[in-house]
C-alpha cells in the first residue's frame, strides 16, 4: 500500500474527488428532474483516476478527455460555475454553451475541449505533445480514454507515433470493463486492452488499481517525470468501474450483479476517506467540513447556472471561423 501523503495534499485530493462525486450526483438529479438538456456520461466511481492522474500536472500542462469529461475537467481546474453553466447551455458556460456535456474544457487551465468521438483525442494529444517538444517546452499531456477506445484505429496510429517520436504524453486508459453496454471481454481478447498492447509499440506500461487514488497518483508521477525528461510516452491502465449508467437512463442491465457489488464495495472515495481517518490524517469533522463546503458550492453553482442567461441567438453564428489576427 502506498504511503499516505501530507495532510494538506491528502485533504486536497480528497476534496477534488468529493467535488467530482457531488457534482456528478447533482447533475444526475438535475437530469432526473428533467431540467437539463441532452444526455450525460458520468464519471461517478472513477474519481480516483481523474484526481490521481492530474493532481501533479502544472496548470500549463494539458489534459485531453472524452465523452465522459466532467471528472477530468474538474480535476484539471475548470471552474464549477463554468461547467454547470455549460451543462445548462448558458452563455457563461466554459464553451459559451456551444460545447455541451461532451465538449467541456477550458484552455486557460490546460483542459482541452472534450472529444466525443471515441479515440478522436488520442492523435490530437500526440499533436499537442509534438508541439511542446518542438517548442522546447517541458510540458506534458495526459490523455484519457476508455477500454473501448483501445480498439479504434486512432489508438494504434497515435501509440505508434508517440513511441517513435518519444512524445511527452501519458495515455491513461480508464478500463471500466465496458464500452457502453459491451463488455471489453467480447471485443478484445487481451486481459489489459491498453497495457498489454503497449509492448507492440515499445511503450512502457503499468496496470494500476484505478480506485486507489494514491496508486494512480504514484504511477502518474512516474510517467510525468519520464515525459518531462524527454523519455517519451507511458501507457497507464487504470482498473475501475462506473457507479452509474453509461449515459442518462441506463440501468446497466448488461452487468452481472455480483460484479457490480464487488466493485461497489471498493468505492474510491470511501476507500480514501477511510484511510485518511484510519491513519488519522484528519478527523471526521474536518472531512465533513470539506464535504459541506463542496455541497454548498455546488448548490450555488446550480442556482447560478439556472438563472444565468442563455447566449444571444446570433452568437450561434460566431466562432465558426477564428476571426482574430495572427498572434
Amino acid at each position: 500500500m502506498i504511503k499516505i501523503p501530507s495532510k494538506e495534499r491528502a485533504l486536497d485530493m480528497y476534496e477534488k474527488m468529493y467535488l467530482i462525486r457531488a457534482y456528478e450526483e447533482e447533475i444526475y438529479y438535475l437530469f432526473f428532474e428533467g431540467i437539463m438538456p441532452g444526455t450525460i456520461h458520468q464519471s461517478t466511481g472513477q474519481e480516483a483516476c481523474a484526481v490521481g492522474m492530474l493532481y501533479d500536472l502544472r496548470k500549463d500542462d494539458y489534459m485531453a478527455t472524452t465523452h465522459r469529461p466532467a471528472g477530468h475537467d474538474l480535476a484539471k481546474g475548470v471552474s464549477l460555475k463554468s461547467m454547470m453553466c455549460e451543462m445548462f447551455g448558458k452563455a457563461e458556460g466554459c464553451c459559451k454553451g456551444k460545447g455541451g456535456a461532451m465538449h467541456t474544457g477550458d484552455f486557460t487551465v490546460g483542459a482541452m475541449t472534450a472529444n466525443a468521438i471515441v479515440g478522436g483525442n488520442l492523435p490530437i494529444a500526440a499533436g499537442v505533445a509534438l508541439a511542446f517538444k518542438m517548442q522546447k517546452k517541458d510540458n506534458v499531456v495526459v490523455c484519457f480514454f476508455g477500454d473501448g477506445a483501445t480498439n479504434e484505429g486512432a489508438f494504434h496510429e497515435a501509440m505508434n507515433a508517440a513511441a517513435t517520436w518519444k512524445l511527452p504524453v501519458i495515455y491513461a486508459c480508464e478500463n471500466n470493463l465496458y464500452s457502453a453496454t459491451t463488455s471489453i471481454k467480447i471485443t478484445c481478447n487481451m486481459e489489459n486492452p491498453a497495457a498489454d498492447r503497449a509492448a507492440a509499440y515499445n511503450i512502457p506500461a503499468e496496470v494500476v488499481d484505478g480506485n486507489d487514488v494514491l496508486a494512480v497518483n504514484e504511477a502518474a508521477r512516474r510517467a510525468i517525470e519520464r515525459a518531462r525528461k524527454g523519455e517519451g510516452p507511458t501507457i497507464i491502465e487504470l482498473k475501475t468501474y462506473r457507479r452509474c449508467g453509461h449515459s442518462r437512463n441506463d440501468a446497466c442491465g448488461y452487468r452481472p450483479k455480483e460484479e457490480e457489488e464487488a466493485w461497489y464495495a471498493r468505492d474510491p472515495i470511501a476507500l480514501f476517506r477511510n484511510r485518511i481517518l484510519e491513519e488519522k490524517v484528519a478527523t471526521e469533522a474536518e472531512l465533513a467540513a470539506i464535504e459541506n463546503r463542496i455541497t454548498e458550492e455546488i448548490k450555488e453553482a446550480v442556482e447560478y447556472a439556472k438563472n444565468a442567461p442563455f447566449p444571444a441567438l446570433e452568437s450561434a453564428l460566431e466562432d465558426i471561423f477564428w476571426q482574430g489576427g495572427n498572434d
Binding site: G38, G93, G97, M102, I117, G148, T187, P311
Partner: protein, 337 residues
C-alpha cells in the same frame, strides 16, 4: 395492421429479411447485448434472441472494421446491415464507404457487387456538434452509393426491406427525433404509421407527396418533412397552399415528381437539416435551374441549417436548424414573389 414507431418498423423489416434470407445479418457496436439497448436507439434490441449472436454481431468500437467487414462479407454473398449509433461516426469509416464500398463494383469491371446497408441515426438532439449532424449530402455526392432517408414508419419499413435487397451499398439515415423508441427525446415527433400485415417494399427513387397544394412546392426530408407539413397547415390558413414532397431517397432522386409539382406551383422551396452550403438541396435547385428553369415563377428558395457546427445550447440549436416558424416566414415571402 398495427401502429408502429419507426424503431419498431425498422426492427420488423430487418427481422423479416433475416427470416427470409439467411445471408442477411446485423453488425454494430452494442448491437444487441443482453440487458443492453439494441444499438443506440433500440432498433436491433432482441434480434439475437431469434437469430443468435452469429447473425447479430456485437463489434469492438472499430468503425473502419465495421465498414470493411461489410464490404468483404457483401462481396462473397452476404447482406450485412450495419448500425453506426450516430451518423457522425460515418466519417470514421469514410474510406471504406467512399473508396471501397462505392467503387468496388466499378473498379472490378462489374465482377462483384457490394450489397450492404449502413444505418446512420442523424439529426440534432442537444448532444453537441459531434452527435448532431445530418450528413446526407456527403454521401449523395459519392457515385456508387444509394442514400435513403425515411420520415414515417411505413416508409422506414418498406425502404429498409428494399435497402437490404438492393445489390448496392446503401446509406440509410434514420432521424433520432422520429424513431419513437422508448428512448425519449425533447422535440421528438410521432412518426408512427399503420403497418400492413402483408409484406411490402418501397422502391427507391419514388418521392411521396405528403400533402397536395398549388402555390408552393416544398421538398423536405426526415424531420424537416414533418416541419414542412406543420408549416403547410399554418400557411393553408393564410391562403397559401403548399405541396409537400418527401423525396424518401436522395440517391436515386425522383426529380420527376418535383417537376410535375412545379408545373402547378411554379415555386420551389427546399428544406433540409443538413447545412445550407452544398447541402443536397443545392443539387435539386441546380438541376431545376438547368433543366426546368422556365417552370419557375420565382427564385428557388432553400431553408437549411446555418453553416456552423450544431451548437449544444437548446435555444442555439433551435435557431440553427430550420424551425417550422422559419419555414412559414420564408414561404410567406416566396408566396408574395
Amino acid at each position: 395492421m398495427a401502429v408502429m414507431s419507426i424503431a419498431d418498423a425498422l426492427k420488423s423489416a430487418i427481422a423479416e429479411e433475416m427470416r427470409r434470407d439467411p445471408t442477411v445479418f446485423c453488425i454494430g457496436e452494442d448491437e444487441d447485448i443482453p440487458g443492453g439497448m439494441g444499438g443506440a436507439f433500440t432498433v436491433t434490441k432482441g434480434l439475437a434472441d431469434e437469430f443468435g449472436f452469429e447473425r447479430v454481431i456485437n463489434t469492438p468500437i472499430s468503425e473502419i472494421l465495421i465498414a470493411g467487414v461489410c464490404v468483404g462479407a457483401a462481396m462473397v454473398g452476404m447482406r450485412p446491415v450495419a448500425d453506426l449509433q450516430y451518423s457522425d461516426f460515418l466519417f470514421c469509416m469514410m474510406d471504406q464507404l467512399v473508396n471501397q464500398a462505392a467503387k468496388m463494383c466499378y473498379m472490378s469491371g462489374g465482377q462483384v457487387k457490394v450489397p450492404m446497408v449502413m444505418r446512420a441515426p442523424c439529426g440534432a438532439t442537444n448532444r453537441g456538434a459531434q452527435h448532431a449532424q445530418s450528413p446526407e449530402s456527403y454521401f449523395v455526392h459519392v457515385p456508387g452509393l444509394k442514400v435513403v432517408c425515411p420520415s414515417t414508419a411505413y416508409d422506414a419499413k418498406g425502404l429498409m426491406k428494399q435497402a437490404i435487397r438492393d445489390d448496392n451499398p446503401v446509406i440509410f439515415f434514420e432521424h433520432k427525433l422520429l424513431y419513437g423508441s422508448s428512448r425519449k427525446e425533447a422535440g421528438a415527433i410521432n412518426a408512427s404509421s399503420e403497418i400492413p400485415d402483408e409484406e411490402y417494399i418501397i422502391p427507391f427513387g419514388k418521392a411521396a407527396i405528403r400533402r397536395e397544394g398549388k402555390d408552393i412546392t416544398i421538398v423536405a426530408n426526415l424531420l424537416m418533412s414533418h416541419r414542412a407539413i406543420q408549416a403547410a397547415e399554418i400557411l393553408e390558413k393564410e391562403g397559401i397552399s403548399c405541396e409537400v414532397i418527401d423525396p424518401r431517397t436522395l440517391v436515386p432522386f425522383d426529380y420527376d415528381t418535383v417537376i410535375e409539382s412545379l408545373r402547378k406551383t411554379g415555386k420551389l422551396m427546399i428544406i433540409h437539416e443538413d447545412h445550407y452550403n452544398l447541402g443536397w438541396g443545392a443539387q435539386l435547385a441546380a438541376y431545376i435551374a438547368e433543366h426546368e428553369i422556365y417552370l419557375l415563377d420565382a427564385p428557388i428558395c432553400r431553408v437549411a441549417a446555418y453553416d456552423t457546427p450544431i451548437p449544444f445550447s437548446p435555444p442555439l440549436e433551435e435557431y440553427v436548424i430550420p424551425s417550422t416558424e422559419r419555414i412559414v416566414k420564408t414561404a410567406r415571402v416566396l408566396a408574395e414573389m
